[in-house]
């Protein structure tokens, strides 16, 4: 391959793609970022194999970031003659954490796992718990400074410098301090930060969970600024509550910080429901990306990357049927269509819209347990054109129950996701349906787009 050298100064070197050496049992890789005096210099790394991970044995940083746009790839020089292609955001993270004087040892998924080796991916993903809890620090890379984002970090720094020596006696006092001296500009910055892609990804939840659980400090880095994740999450929550807005994007992060602090049982069903809004490029990661958060060791062997999504979700459904029985059904609000061979009673975890509330499920006692029967059907015969090598099977659920009635008439579907006007239409149709008039005053949360503003002006003028 004729790759131009990303390493300035060696114009004529043709780099070859880095040939991964297979990991031996318990082995893992770390990336050593080479120092550079000048920030504009190309990133150069070494890849090390280490025999095994144990807390404190090696000082390394575990990175938490998002891959971002995979169409924008950049080459990282490995040693003197190789390269690896990584996303532009991964490259930016490596450059941000590079030091001027010394080498920096990091664990970064895109390079420490051979992404082309399915078996290795499955094995390493199961070791994520070890990798992030053994790190001396978990660093979050939010991206470059933008939209005046530095101000919020300065604000947090200011509050922290005035922090009482023994910490705040109550959360209320701390929140009061974080909310003090804030202005509209700062609130807008908090909003923009919360909308950065990092907050919406499923993988980061587990990384934060493990970072906090391993007693490592989770620090968020954004451009040249940094703050503790707890402070940033608290601060943004306080600022956004000033405007009465719900923190849609950060809502899973405080949850993860709470469960990492301990005391809360972490069943698979609860965690799957709570993280349903998080995004994953690979739908299997909606389950595989949060294995280490679940406090039931059996889950790690349910599925892997050698299975297709239908099989992964089927395995998860069968496991849940054993642990929460038919409570599982409440995780299916809408019929799923993405995976035609997935049984209709199995939740499609990649459907982020499916569960409206991410509220806690109330568990009843064992007194009313009812175990349904399963009949396993082979569905390979019905889908003869299946290109997948997986042996998909279709479990049929046999349950007891009774018919209440039949649907006789249906109203319009509500749409609350659109702009303000669409929401008003939804509310109006609701109020008409139940025959209770509602006034058309909508508090915030839905910003109309310019389209509708100009339309409204046109009508009055």
């Amino acid at each position: 391959m004729d790759a131009s050298s990303p390493h300035s100064g060696h114009q004529s070197v043709v780099l070859k793609k880095y040939p991964y050496r297979q990991l031996e049992y318990d082995e893992f890789r770390l990336v050593e970022i080479q120092p550079a005096d000048d920030d504009s210099m190309a990133v150069k790394c070494l890849i090390q194999h280490l025999p095994r991970l144990s807390s404190g044995s090696v000082d390394y940083i575990a990175l938490s970031y998002t891959w971002g746009d995979l169409a924008l790839l950049k080459q990282v020089a490995i040693d003197t003659s190789y390269y690896l292609e990584v996303s532009a955001n991964c490259y930016a993270a490596l450059r941000r954490f590079r030091s001027k004087e010394k080498t920096v040892l990091v664990w970064i998924d895109a390079m420490c796992i051979n992404q082309e080796d399915v078996e290795e991916r499955t094995k390493q993903v199961r070791k994520m718990g070890q990798i992030y809890t053994s790190a001396s620090q978990v660093l979050v890379y939010l991206g470059d400074e933008a939209d005046d984002s530095g101000r919020i970090f300065e604000h947090i720094q200011g509050v922290c410098s005035r922090r009482p020596v023994n910490g705040y006696p109550t959360a209320r006092l701390r929140n009061l301090d974080l909310g003090r001296h804030c202005d509209e500009g700062l609130i807008k910055i908090a909003w923009a930060i919360m909308r950065r892609p990092w907050f919406s990804r499923v993988w980061v939840l587990q990384e934060v969970f493990l970072g906090v659980k391993g007693k490592a400090d989770v620090v968020v880095v954004c451009g040249p600024h940094s703050a503790s994740l707890k402070d940033l999450a608290n601060c943004c929550e306080v600022l956004c509550s000033e405007v009465g807005e719900k923190m849609e994007y950060v809502s899973e992060i405080p949850y993860v910080l709470t469960i990492a602090a301990g005391g809360t049982p972490r069943g698979l069903h609860d965690i799957l429901r709570r993280t349903r809004h998080a995004n994953a490029t690979d739908p299997r990661d909606k389950f595989l990306g949060l294995l280490a958060m679940v406090d039931d060791e059996r889950v790690s062997n349910i599925a892997g990357y050698h299975m297709n999504t239908t099989t992964v979700y089927t395995q998860v459904g069968l496991f849940l049927l054993q642990s929460v029985q038919l409570e599982l059904l409440q995780s299916i609000r809408h019929p799923h269509s993405r995976y035609p061979n997935l049984a209709s009673w199995m939740p499609d975890w990649s459907c982020t819209e499916d569960s409206g509330q991410s509220q806690e499920i109330q568990h009843a006692g064992h007194d009313c347990d009812y175990r349904p029967t399963l009949q396993v059907r082979d569905c390979c015969r019905s889908s003869s054109h299946s290109s997948s090598s997986d042996h998909e099977y279709h479990p049929v659920l046999k349950v007891k129950g009774f018919k209440v009635s039949r649907i006789e008439s249906l109203g319009e579907a509500f749409n609350f996701l659109g702009d303000r006007e669409e929401c008003l239409v939804a509310l109006k149709s609701l109020s008409e349906s139940v025959n209770r008039p509602l006034t058309p005053h909508l508090p915030g949360g839905f910003t109309p787009d310019s389209r509708h503003i100009s339309k409204a002006e046109g009508e009055t003028g």
């Binding site: 038919l326 059904l329 109203g411 609350f416 058309p440």
Partner: protein
């Protein structure tokens, strides 16, 4: 139609408005709106044969069956599939007067509902 000045564009105005929102004059609170949004988005109201009101997903169709499944937490909607048996349309519905117990399960009220509705228990095979 609303006057243009009623359209709230930036969060500053929203913030002022939320502070002046009074309770009990028909103005919807943000919290209520969030609840409405999470429980009704992409859903429809429906009426059944006995004119009972319910909430079903937008994909529900006239003729679909509303049922209570033993051990489930919410009312379910089932549809006949070609070749017999059933498919699950939704496992998370609401229906007036068909409410699970305060523990969020139907099991404690299952027998009482069976008696009240005067229906007999069935076995459903769901694909």
């Amino acid at each position: 139609m609303f006057a243009t000045n009623e359209i709230i564009i930036d969060h500053v105005k929203v913030r002022e408005m939320n502070r002046t929102v009074c309770r009990g004059d028909g103005v919807i609170q943000q919290q209520t709106l969030d609840q409405l949004k999470s429980s009704l988005h992409n859903c429809r109201l429906f009426l059944d044969e006995s004119r009972r009101l319910g909430v079903a997903p937008s994909e529900a169709m006239v003729g679909d069956l509303v049922c209570v499944i033993k051990g489930a937490a919410k009312a379910c909607i089932l549809r006949r599939r070609r070749g017999g048996d059933w498919v699950l349309v939704s496992g998370d519905c609401f229906m007036d007067r068909i409410a699970p117990s305060s523990h969020g399960r139907f099991a404690p009220v299952y027998k009482r509902l069976l008696g009240e509705l005067k229906v007999k228990e069935d076995i459903f095979r769901i694909w």
